[in-house]
Symmetry: C2
Subunit: 201 residues, 2 copies
DNA sequence: GTCTATATTTCGATAGAC
DNA sequence: GTCTATCGAAATATAGAC
């Protein structure tokens, strides 16, 4: 069956990204050569240059995938007005946070294990405004002068819990049904940040 | 004043490690050349080889510093017998966890930002048994079959909170007095994992 | 202990045929 | 779209003088 011109390339391009994601995560971005990626795909290094101008561009594309998902998430976190309203809205965003971690776990692991490579990427722009680091936006949220420190600590704690349970220590819970894990995490997060403001005792 | 033979070297060796720690953290291990390190110290690249046989050995020594501190911590986490006793002991270890994060923040950041480099280090042993990754021991604790899943999730959550507040998002709290931050974190952690076992309601 | 070379290797990137 | 061949640029590491 003849293949329409160009359609093969789209496939290969996707396979390159998938393979790069795995290798960059396992061995690290710098320790992964283009020869490694090409070899696993059964093509040669030179062929990669048909799809990506530079090695960095492969990482950049993976970065953008995470960036897009993360931007949406941060938009939601920022959708409530800075101040007590944002604190009140926070517990309802827990589901979104968990979903984000689960849906993007591979990309998050890639990012987590290659932070320095991603920072180099950010500096060597030809990216630009869109490149405001997600983490910077998050730190800004936590630095708000109109949210009590106590609440800001709890907001950070929330994210810490979710990251630890669903990403960093996820290996310890691989044989647990995701819904069960999510339910237990939810319960813990509710203790940490109850949906209704705690009444002064 | 004449310097006893060898004593100068000890000083320089320490300065190399300190500088490497800073540069590896800021720019990443792979992006930091020996020329970078030497240049900042006002010596040449070749001089580094008098103190370290390979570039990897510099990273290895920094790794060992963290490994030693982390081993002690894990010994304490494991000091209570696996099972409910360990859960009961956990809240009392919170202070130790916080202290560990604060005392080793630079090394932890180094590790966090260069995970892949450290894993390469672990594989290319000439390290060996002592090299049991700290994270692996921690995951083992969380995987215990004789601790209820609910408690294991809380144990992981505890670490997630402390890591997030004192390391990952520490920038958001730089202008907060450490004792105040620790007090608020403590309060949050108590909600997450009360010192006395929660009585069934 | 520190220097000036220089050797060695690896890798990203390009040129040009098919 | 993919290949072979090669260039050029680091960077690690070594040799040997001082």
């Amino acid at each position: 069956m003849p293949r329409p011109p160009g359609s093969h390339g789209v496939e290969t391009r996707g396979r390159i990204l998938q393979t790069a994601l795995e290798l960059f995560t396992q061995q690290g971005y710098d320790k992964t050569s283009l020869r490694d990626i090409a070899g696993r795909l059964g093509i040669t290094k030179a062929a990669l240059y048909y799809y990506f101008e530079r090695k960095e561009d492969i990482l950049l594309e993976l970065h953008l995938q995470l960036h897009n998902a993360g931007s949406e998430l941060l938009d939601e976190l920022e959708s409530a007005e800075d101040g007590p309203a944002r604190v009140a809205a926070w517990p309802r965003l827990v589901n979104r946070l968990i979903a984000f971690m689960l849906e993007n776990r591979e990309l998050i692991l890639l990012h987590s294990r290659n932070q320095s490579a991603f920072e180099t990427l950010a500096r060597s722009d030809r990216n630009r405004a869109e490149n405001t680091a997600l983490e910077e936006r998050f730190v800004q949220i936590l630095s708000s002068p109109v949210i009590p420190l106590r609440d800001r600590v709890r907001m950070a704690a929330t994210v810490g819990v979710i990251t630890e349970v669903f990403v960093e220590s996820a290996r310890a819970f691989t044989d647990v049904a995701p819904e069960e894990l999510a339910a237990l995490a939810h319960e813990a997060l509710a203790d940490l940040m109850p949906a209704e403001a705690p009444t002064a005792l």
